[in-house]
Amino acid sequence: MSAGVLWLDEVGATDGQLVGGKAANLGELLRIGFPVPNGFVVSADAYSRFYQSLGLQANLARDASATEIAQECAAIRSTIEGADLTPELADAILSAHATLVAGHARKVLCAVRSSATAEDLGAASFAGQHGTYYYVDRENLLTKVKQCWASLWSPEAASYRATHGIDDASVSMAVVVQEMIPSEIAGVAFTANPVTGARDEVVIESSWGMGAAIVDGRVTPDHYVVARDGLKLRDKRIAEKRLMVSAHLEPGQHARLEQVPNEMRLKEALPPGMVDTIVEWSLKSEAHFGKPQDVEWAVCEGRFYILQSRPVTVMGREEIGAGLSGKHVLFKPIFENFTDPLTPLTQDLFEVYPMLSMRFVRGWLYMDISHLRRLLPFKVSDQDLAERMYSVSKEPPDWPLSLAKLPASLLAGFVFYLTAAVLFARSNSLPDDALDSHRATCRRMAQNESVSAEDTLPRLWMLPRLFAPVADLPLLLNLASFRFTLWMGILRRLVRRWAPEIRSDAETLLGSGTDGVLSAEMGRGIWALAQEARRSARVREIFLKQRPEQTLMTLKREPEARIFLARLDQFLAINGHRAIKEFELRSVRWEEDPSVVLGMVRNYVLVEAEPVVHEKKAAEARTEFLRELKAALMKLPFESALGFRLRMIRHAAERVRYFMKLRENTRFYHIMGPGTVRKKVLKIEAELMRDGKLKCKDDIFYMRFPEIAALQSGALKWLDVEDKIRERRIEHIRLSKMGPPKTIGIELKGKSAAPDLAVDVSQLRGQPASPGRFEGNARVILDPSIDASIEPGEILIAPYTDPAWTPLFLTAGAAVVEVGSYLSHAGTVAREFGMPCVVDVPGATLKIHTGDRISVDGERGSVRVLSGGAAT
C-alpha cells in the first residue's frame, strides 16, 4: 500500500521499527497462517512525518517539574488531535478501511490500537499507557488514529520514558486498525501459569461476549488449567458470569456492558473441544516466538481467532515494593479478612490522613516495623520481630532486655496509657447493646451533605467528641479490646502453673463459649430465615427453583412469602451493612443487594439435616474440662477451703471471653463506616453517570478522590481518566491473583507466603485456631457471593474469611483457611461454634479440591488429604 499504510500480512517480526512491536507480532502470526483478524497499520514513519509537520519539539525538557511536563504534554496532545492529516494519508487510511470492511454482510467495526516502536526496548513495558479504542466506525477512524498518536504524550507515558531513560525523540507510534470480531465467547490463555510461574501448564479464562469484560476484570471467568503433557485437564472451575460486553448494540441501547441472561450464568462458556483448540494455537504461538505467551482469543460463529499474542509478564512477589526503603510487614488484621488488594478509591480513603508507620503498597497495607522495634525494650532484630508476628508459638519470646531502650519504651508506654486509660476504664464491662446507637450516627452522617465522602470515615473512626458516648468510638474500642491478649497470657500462666498436666488447649476452651457474639448471631439469623422459608411449601419451592438474584422479586409477588419477607427485613435492618470484603468500598452491602443472604438461606433450605452440633459438643467439653481442672486444683494447698485459684482462673477466662466478644462486636459496628462512605460514593457516581462524566458503573472505585473532584468540577473529562481506570483494573486483577509478600525488605527464615505446589500435597500445615478433629469431604469456596453451597459435615476450604462467611461455619464440619491466625475472624467464630479450624495454610484452595476426603486436626494445625475426590 502507499503513504505509510501497510496491510498486516505485509509486515513481520523484523518490522518493529516500522510498525511497532504489536503490529509486527500480529503481522507475523497472520503471515504464517494463524487465525488473526485482518487489518492494516498506519506506520511509525507516517506519525513522524505528521509530528514534524506540526513543528513540535522532539524532546520534553529534562529538568521540568511534573506540573510543567503535564502542561507541555497537554499542549502537544491538543496540537496533534486538532491538526488535520494530510489528504494523501487520510485517503490511504479510509481507502484501506473501505477494503477491510468490504464484503461483509454485517456492519464491521474496528479496533484502533497503538503500536509504539519503544515497546521493543528491552524490558520497557508501556502496558496500558498508550491508547486503544474499540467499536470504531469510518466516521471516527481518523480521530482515533490521531488520539493513539497523542497518547504517546500522556504524562504517564512521558514520565515512564523519563524514568527508564528512553529518549522521547527515539519513540514513534504506529497504529493498528483491525476488524473487530463480534465474539460470542472470548478470553485469554497463558502458556505459563501467570500466578505460580509453572511452565508445565496452560491457563485459560473464558466468558461470554467480548474479551474486554475479562481483561478489565468486570467478570469472574471460567478457569481451566491444562497440563502441557498430554493436554490433560488439571482443573476446571465454572464461575457465575454476571456481566458481559456485548458485540452488538440493540436500537436505543448505549452501553455494551450488560447482564448475562440467568440461564447462561453458570453454564460453561466454551463448547466441547474448544479448550484443545485454544491450547494448541497458544502453544504454537509460544513455539513461534520462543517464550511463554499471553494470548487474547475470541470465538465468533464457531470460528476461533487470536486477537493478540504477547510475552507473559509474570511479576514476582519480590517485585512488589521494589525500591521501597524500610522494613515492612503485611498488616495482618486486614489481610486476614481480605486477601485482595484494596481498590484505588478505598486505598485513597485511608490515605487522606497520615497513617504513621503504615503505608499501602500496591493496595495492601504494610507496617514499617522498624518504628515498633525501636519502641520495644528488647534487643531484637527486624527479622526476629517479623518472624514473631507470623509465629504460631504461644510462648513469649526470649529476647534479651535492652536497658538502653527501656526509658524510651517506658515513656512511650506511659504516654499511651495516659491517652487510652479512660477508654480502658469505660470499656471494662459494657452491655452487649452499648454500641447500637452507632447505627443512627452512621445514618445521620450518610445524609449530612456538609461532610465529604473522604472526610466521613475519619469523622466516624478517629475524631471523638469530649462528651460522645462509647457507641461513637467503635474503632477505638476495637483497639482497646486487644487487652484480651494480656488476659490470655495471664490465663495460660495460671493454668500451666497450677494444673500443668491439663490439656494443652485449656485456655482456648476456657476462652470460648460466649453468648452475644454478633457475627455468630448473624449466622444463626440466616438459619432462622431458612427455617421460616421451609414453613411454606411455596416459599421453599421458590428458593429451590430460582437463582438468588431472581428469588427476591418472585417472593415479593408471592402472598405466602409475607412473613418471610418481614423476617428478612428485620435481619437486614440489623445486618444489612455487612458484605463480603467489607473494608472495601467497592463491595456491595447486603442491604443494597440481599442475594448473597438469599443464597445462604437457599443453601440451608436445601439441607434436610440439622447443622452439625458442634456447639453442644463444645459446651460439654468445656463442662468436662472445668471438672478436670477443679479436681486438679483441689490437690493444691488451701484450695478446697478457699478456692481462690479456681476463682482467679475463672476471672481471667471471663475477661478473655469479654474482650474477645468486644473485639468481634466492635468490628460489627466500626465496619458501618466504610458502608457509610460507600453510600456517598454511590451518590456521586450516580450524578457523574447522569451527567455523562462517567460511562460505566463501578469504575469510580478505580479512581482517587481528587480525580473524582476534578471530574465533578469539569477539570477532568472522561477521556482523561478512561485509560487510567482500565489500567488500574488490569493491575488490580494481576495483583489479586498473585497475593502479597508477607514482608518487604526483610527475609523471613520460615515459610514464605507463596504456595509451594511442589511439596507433598497430602499433608498441609497451618496454625491451630480452634481445637478438635474432624474428617469429611472438602468444599472449596472462593467467594460466598457466587457460591455459598456447603452441606452439613463438609469441610470449608477458603482463601480468607470475614464475618460475611460466618453462616457457612454453621453447617461446616471444620474449616481450613489460607490466611489468618489464632486471633483472626475464622478462629474466633470457629471457637464460638466449637468446630475445628486450621488457618494460615498457604495454597489450601489450590491443593485441596471439592470432594477430596480430608481430616483436620485443629489442635496440631494439620490438614491431611486422605483421598482425592472429583474436582469441580
Binding site: 486509660a421 447493646d433 475524631l463 471523638p464
Partner: protein
C-alpha cells in the same frame, strides 16, 4: 524520700482521676438505658469519689498537694487530647 512519695501520690491522683472520668462517662455511655442502669452508674461514681476524698483526707499536706496536682494534671491532659487530635488531623490532612 518526700519527693518520691510525692511522685507516688501524684501517680495515685492520676489513676483515681482516670477511674473517676471513666465512671462519669457511665452516664453518657449508658444514657440509652439509664432507667435501669442508674444504680450501677451512681455506685461507680460514688465509689471513686469516696476513694478520692478518702485518700485526700488521709494524706498529710505535702502529699495531698501532689495528689491534687495528679488529679488536676490528668484532667487537663485528658481534655486537651481532643483539640490536639483535631489540630493534628487538620494540619496533616492531605490537601
Amino acid at each position: 524520700m518526700i519527693v518520691l512519695g510525692q511522685i507516688g501520690t501524684f501517680g495515685v491522683g492520676v489513676f483515681l482521676m482516670i477511674a473517676m472520668i471513666g465512671a462519669l462517662y457511665g452516664v453518657v455511655d449508658l444514657w440509652y438505658m439509664i432507667g435501669s442502669a442508674w444504680p450501677r452508674v451512681v455506685r461507680a461514681i460514688l465509689a471513686w469519689a469516696i476513694a478520692i476524698a478518702a485518700v485526700a483526707w488521709l494524706l498529710p499536706l505535702p502529699y495531698r498537694l501532689a495528689f491534687a496536682w495528679g488529679l488536676t494534671a490528668y484532667l487537663v491532659v485528658y481534655i486537651s487530647l481532643f483539640p490536639m487530635l483535631r489540630i493534628f488531623m487538620r494540619v496533616h490532612r492531605r490537601t
